[in-house]
Symmetry: C2
Subunit: 406 residues, 2 copies
Amino acid sequence: MLRARGGWRALRRCASLPRARRAVRLRVREALGAPEPADEVQVQGWVRSVRSQKEVLFLHINDGSSLENLQVVADPSLENRDLTFGSAVEVQGKLVKSPHKMQNMELKAETIRVVGPCDIWSFPLKMKKRHPLEYVRQFPHLRCRNNTLGSLLRIRSEATAAIHSFFQDNGYVHIHTPIITSNDCEGAGDLFQIETSNKARESAEKTHFFNVPAFLTVSGQLHLEVMSGAFTHVFTFGPTFRAENSQSRRHLAEFYMVEAELSFTESLQDIMQVMEDLFKTATSTVLSKCPRDVELFHKYMAPAQKVINVTEKSCNCVAAVDLLVPGIGELCGGSLREERLPFLKSRLQRLGLADAYQWYLDLRKFGSVPHGGFGMGFERYLQYILGVDNIKDVIPFPRFSHSCLL
Amino acid sequence: MLRARGGWRALRRCASLPRARRAVRLRVREALGAPEPADEVQVQGWVRSVRSQKEVLFLHINDGSSLENLQVVADPSLENRDLTFGSAVEVQGKLVKSPHKMQNMELKAETIRVVGPCDIWSFPLKMKKRHPLEYVRQFPHLRCRNNTLGSLLRIRSEATAAIHSFFQDNGYVHIHTPIITSNDCEGAGDLFQIETSNKARESAEKTHFFNVPAFLTVSGQLHLEVMSGAFTHVFTFGPTFRAENSQSRRHLAEFYMVEAELSFTESLQDIMQVMEDLFKTATSTVLSKCPRDVELFHKYMAPAQKVINVTEKSCNCVAAVDLLVPGIGELCGGSLREERLPFLKSRLQRLGLADAYQWYLDLRKFGSVPHGGFGMGFERYLQYILGVDNIKDVIPFPRFSHSCLL
């Protein structure tokens, strides 16, 4: 319904008429890092500032490829009413060495086309204003155009890639553990349950879509244990859920967990080593891939916090470990699992779960091995390395008690 | 509850006593690919076959790092009752050049320890038997120990990594679009709705956890459109849901979608180019990273299907495109979106949705740009490149009507 455009317009575009001039299209990041000047360059993006002087017009253009803007220098005759903060533009011209120390290149505009104007009076972001995170949080559809959230989401993206690479490089198989699960043994009070939206029919027929009650996952651990019995080293990185009735700065109803499981592991030290290597590798990748974005946070967000190597390990000697960090709490939790069939069986029998978890017992019946694993809260990880106080500010679309915007 | 082991045992392990001998631990894949012989090697894994001759005992060991097994050659005196198909073992010995053409290295065992025996009478997988996919599908907790599913999940993992790399390498920002959403405009009949498991209280108080009805996402498109207004090029790769009442070989209730959105895009050609590049890059990465795993499928699954370049593009000239493939149907769907405020507004008003989607209109009010994107069904992609008939066989834990095992 919201997809296709009208026919005549699409046809015009489908025809892909040759443009009058063939300029090289560059992202802002590429233009800023260009090794040498170039003629016939085209840059597209959103205007972050307009400064009109008598003899020259300055624009700053951002396209989300970096925190830094590209400075555009133009003749004042190119100014027009729609060329405002927030408008989308396409600038064509020459890329030249900038006379300013702070930037490598700037764009001498020959043409400036306003692709989409911006109604600045109702636009909640204002030019050259440092909006607090609490303020931009009110506009979930626009806050990504704010510098801080822009940097945050670029960092989140790089950290995601770094985590995938870390595990792949170390021989782990990635598993999409299920989101919908019939397991309800862990923390049953805080689960989300799933029904089809056609609930009337389901309750009239007293049926469930899946035949059994189904829930949103709280952890991929049990499913990873299944897979660690075939691949030895496995990991998952996906959404997990808690129906926790809290609007605190620490809680989300939907958040991301990195979880790993290792077979033939008899010592917590092995698990802790992976946790530490993951943390260090992801963090150093982020620092090297987006230094300016990280700098923004360390300058404005976390003046007092020392990042990295401020970690407390608490080994409680029942073969479980938590990694606690100041201001955030538990960042990682790991443990060795019970691999011995008789012990696990008697425990599940006492809890009346032996039938429901026969499959889990089966894993111990057919080539069981000592194994263990851990989970790391991805949002807490980002909060920690960047010094962000509220967990709602490190996820693109926060979901929490009483709030599911967009 | 299922996590911590008893204290004394864990303590023993925490102490991490030095082993009698320090052998180099190798994965099967590493052992098979070792450039030269080595003494003092340790390999852990599961027994795939046992063949006992008068003067020699042969084992095949697999640890999930590759489809190929490592051959272990041992003195028959090392045999024991628990050393069966499916048991977990730790073998120590010398890695030597194999006299067989088909393998590079084999392991001359000095010690064999059965870490976990396997109850072969009740174990549903049998030695040297090629089980049909329909058969192993009955055992979702054990089927990953089957060759075909093992190869499938390694390929799935490599394809996942390749898709992330493709987008990262091309300047896309990865966005975790939300799983829980309050949007219900698309295909409302097939949505899953979410409640807390404490439904009694909610219905007594006539409230929702999120204040509004909440659903499992059917697509990240609208949220990517938000983000493409800041980062220009964005992508997501996550679970999507349909409450479709079907047990056919084509449908899952939970499946994965790769979705991308591109700003400043005026032509469907641009979208189609990205679709094609994604497909080619992911597929060639898979082919080069796990040739043996792919070979297994092409040998046994898809004898008649020509993979890659068998694709039909259907451009219906209303600025939407579907990529249809034989036997599977729609693999990708893409379109240009309506970026013009007045057109979109009047359409939403006619549908009575203008208030609910004010945020979506806002995107067109503040620096709107022509944009478009596409989605690719990840399971269908895997089915297509591997020639797998049933979608339930290309996902670790299939969820569909009447079935949510584990």
